[in-house]
Symmetry: C5
Subunit: 91 residues, 5 copies
């Protein structure tokens, strides 16, 4: 899974009906290497009640759909948790 920070939201009125009711958040993946912080945003459906500024855990691929009520929803990334803390003790 990916760790990132919620930095914004995305709105789309015209979309696949199966996406109705989902909140789409912009997530900026973390890197432990400052030189490569410039990553693309990921757009993830929220399933953890996350908001801007939250550090979140994002599940991608087919696993993302297992977090939603319906396995037929065309979503490939879902926020599955809000991170309390990360402890890195060995580099």
């Amino acid at each position: 899974m990916i760790v990132g920070k919620v930095v914004g939201s995305l709105w789309a009125t015209r979309k696949d009906n199966k996406l109705n009711g989902l909140t789409f958040l912009m997530v900026k993946p973390y890197s432990h290497d400052d030189a490569r912080v410039q990553h693309e945003y990921i757009v993830a459906a929220d399933n953890a009640g996350a908001g801007v500024g939250d550090n979140v855990l994002v599940t991608t691929g087919s696993a993302a759909r297992t977090s939603l009520a319906n396995a037929d929803i065309p979503v490939d990334a879902v926020i599955v948790g809000i991170i309390d803390s990360i402890e890195v003790t060995d580099e």
Copy 2:
């Protein structure tokens, strides 16, 4: 999911019959880092009525097929929404 801009179209007469009737659009993924804007195009089947110049939301992988009527279509990227706006409030 990926955010990108529709920049063109692709035509293929000789193709898997399962692809008949689909529109294939060239999508250029957005990056928030100008130094890395030079990404490959993604070819995505359109399921949102998108056109050139639209900013779109693209779902990839097995999830893409859940947006189409038939789960047996060999497509790994589908445009599932046309973006109204993105609001990034926290970098």
Copy 3:
């Protein structure tokens, strides 16, 4: 999906029996950024009658298997179309 050019072929006598009868082509993905043209080759099973020099549309991941007669074939990339033209009108 990925757009690329067929640049060669691959032969493997000792292989998973499920791969028998498939043609494996070397595909070089296109990039619209010359500085990054140096990509790895993709090996894709051909399902469109492609040959060296053809520009092709390649479907990857689990979707690739939906293009073949048998969903149990261990192939993660299939050429699903031969490209007639690509029109990019908005950069």
Copy 4:
């Protein structure tokens, strides 16, 4: 699969209930190229009893869920083994 080193842990109280009971570890993928060691962390659920400092084998994608008791768990990376040794004899 990916080879990496466990460098820490991640805690998330608010999360998808399906994730309850799993331990999430921070894994730093190995590279044999020092110039590219600066990779992102992967967050992987532990299914091998791994701890900080262990070199581990991580399975990603849909395969990750086959290692867990329930295929509906939204996890895309699982530690499936603790590495005793790697012998590279041909570069």
Copy 5:
């Protein structure tokens, strides 16, 4: 699929029982661009009787499991063929 060279082996005593009996080989993906040869190793389960020095064809993702006897094995990369030759005739 990916083309690479087998450069070594990996041993893990403590692992998911479903992995018992598999041989894990270290595969170094080929690049046709010397400047980017420095790729990470892939760890792949062997299903073609490969050994160190062999050039192999590796299938990744969910397709990898279709090469094994049991679709529930947590493996995301399998060596499905030993390459006799690659002929690249058009760059």
